[in-house]
Symmetry: C2
Amino acid sequence: MSDTGVTVKKSQDFSEWYVQVVLKAELADYAPVKGCMIIREDAYAVWEKIQEIVNQKIKATGHKNVYFPMFIPESFLKKEAEHFEGFTPEVAWITQGGDSPLDERLAVRPTSETIMYATFNKWIRSWRDLPLKINQWCNIVRWETKATKLFLRTREFLWQEGHTAHATAEEAEAEVIYALNEYRDVMENYLAIPVVVGTKSDSEKFAGALYTTALESIMPDGKALQMGTSHNLGQHFAKVFDVKFIGEDKQDHFVWQTSWGITTRLIGAMIMVHGDDRGLIMPPKVAPTQVVIVPIPFKGLEAEAIAAKTKEIAEKLKTHGVSVLLDDRNEYTPGWKFHQWELKGIPIRIELGPRDLKQGQVVMVRRDTGQKTPVNETDILSTVDKLLVEIQDSMFIKAKAFLQDKTTAVQSYEEFKKVLEEKGGFIKAAWCGSADCEAKVKDETGATIRIRPFQKEEPTTNCIVCAKKANETVYFARSY
Amino acid sequence: MSDTGVTVKKSQDFSEWYVQVVLKAELADYAPVKGCMIIREDAYAVWEKIQEIVNQKIKATGHKNVYFPMFIPESFLKKEAEHFEGFTPEVAWITQGGDSPLDERLAVRPTSETIMYATFNKWIRSWRDLPLKINQWCNIVRWETKATKLFLRTREFLWQEGHTAHATAEEAEAEVIYALNEYRDVMENYLAIPVVVGTKSDSEKFAGALYTTALESIMPDGKALQMGTSHNLGQHFAKVFDVKFIGEDKQDHFVWQTSWGITTRLIGAMIMVHGDDRGLIMPPKVAPTQVVIVPIPFKGLEAEAIAAKTKEIAEKLKTHGVSVLLDDRNEYTPGWKFHQWELKGIPIRIELGPRDLKQGQVVMVRRDTGQKTPVNETDILSTVDKLLVEIQDSMFIKAKAFLQDKTTAVQSYEEFKKVLEEKGGFIKAAWCGSADCEAKVKDETGATIRIRPFQKEEPTTNCIVCAKKANETVYFARSY
């Protein structure tokens, strides 16, 4: 247990605040291997919740979990030229097994398209075998050369990658949107993080994809974070790996493919978006512990009665389906415990002292607002239920208001640069669609097109860069 | 879908039978990377069941899931000499990240003691931090040079590794046995595979452990399979990684540690132990699909009524908590479906044809015995419940009888060799305890001491090798 709280304010030094919260709330730790991290129990428990939610969704719609090898022969990666070029700079290579050098070096998977689709060509024979919809939960390695950041950018991370093959382009398109919508539900309705959705510009799409759709949000420092992606691969990989099926028309056709993923980076987003100066705030729906009960010790008989009563309440909440922790350790003071569980972000604290005992009540404290309410003993279950919903909702509403506040429409490149420097966030601007204009903005300001939103907005000006006719309004931002 | 069944008998060519079942029942596939495998959906679903069962057990007793990096610097592995020597011949090495050669090569984890315990020394300060009980589910790499075998010996596999640190030797000892007992429950009461439990001889123990306990079973070809291990690490690693705590006595003490694991190899054991000439038989408690319903098509109105009735039954079973598949595809015949789902080992098949419909019944077929029973429509749920239990139980009883039959007590080395050649299985023999005698048996026969059983049996002869006084009866076998 860490003995001290967060020593900087979120608003003053966001970057330092983030690291302190991650380390002191014991969500992660630096690993002895450069650029890698240790995911500790509370963060891993959130990841397990995400797994549970996503598994439930995708299994209900016929996707099956599988596991493919982590090692990919270099020759496989090379087959799709764009894909190889995109990923090679970040590949960790196995060159030796035991005492023997390998004939062909093996990539530790940066993503699994190539190794999977080499096998799809064996599994898919006819239209009867389609759609093929699989998913795997695994570790991924990308040998980052940029500065790493716990959860957000590490050389190894955990993710889920869905891969599907379909008979028609329409089905593949629907699958891309299916995944995106489910991700949005996970992010908004479980992690309480609002997102904007749309497509990526060509320069930002997945290496080898026809097009990439994505979910993006804005972090408290005004930088955008890519929260998840869903790619339409078209027939690019099918042609390279010769993944064909015999249709009902007895003809050979290449399959249409999609892939989509979310990573442990989501935990980083959750920490950044919801935390405050006292530490983490866990959204109730993914909190490993939703309620902590702290008995306020007193001497003699009363202490025993308080111990008995808190045990009883803990049991009742547990039976009711609430995840609850009774912190009845004698070696720590109540004050120390309050501090500790606030740091770790448990949504509700229940205190019970001698006076409460006498009055047949407890005190409930909301982690998000700090609001204290005396609750009659008979109302504990219903109040906890109600509070958990209220906290979840108000965390989302607050985050949504922030995102809206951090989204600015601009009319000129001058205004664009001014907003970027002074406020950050998403900057909605008219774009002509040319890669040159996009590159110019990136070079000059560091901002990229994060999203071409699905919800089209007519451009109100010409392209802010070249002043030619704009086709669309896009979201620019500096990003993680 | 594979179109043909298993073409060899289990009793005739066990090795070929195994490969055919694994491939044709679509449990796994060879990967394009030598020595690696693809775990397909039904096998992965069994692994998810095992995860669920183990997680429930270990979380209820205060163990927490975490995730440590897969990469271990060579210098870490080297710290415990015996450990390094034991694992180095099988390590896959990362020597290059992107375009740059690494300063120090990184091992892909063959097991995680070293990287974890290097961090324990930071996390553990005082007796308040103990016991520390963590677990991780991850992939493991051991660069096998022996012939690989799907599920049983592959260069990458999945496992769970529990790691604990305790204040006293007694607590560590209790933890070793705790893990072993839970594993035994998983194997016997879920996978329906009987095991013998005990300690390993020094030559077979985990590299770096004080002692290793293990669970072993006998496969149909008479070879033993190590099903899981639970190690008492004593203070070996604690001393190497300086993992100390301040006790209630204010003094520094080294912690006492354990580690324990089971792997995807268990799925191989399940296939081998329970399969028959028609394919796989899934134990109901871990079967991804417990019941398959096959409508027997007929023309006209009756076909519609059968379709409606089978849908209704499927819904009822689902609501009842049974995992059920309604195979109502038109492109396959009932006969083809019977064959297919037998191959894949679904415990119960429900058939419904025109005559059944008229009589208000279905026909239930047990996968393990082939027994067909007409069941009144009103009794479907209760009969399925009863049958699932019966199948689970009788699979275990059958496997247990086999294990007992394949366990032979011998009085001499001659008899030992004769039994080993003619029958295989466990051979119980008197052993003096010397490593020389053990090595002699291994050199001359290929058999090793699999288990020194907890249930001690007094030796009835002197050591079968050296004829000196024997201390104990041990279980020898050739093994996977």
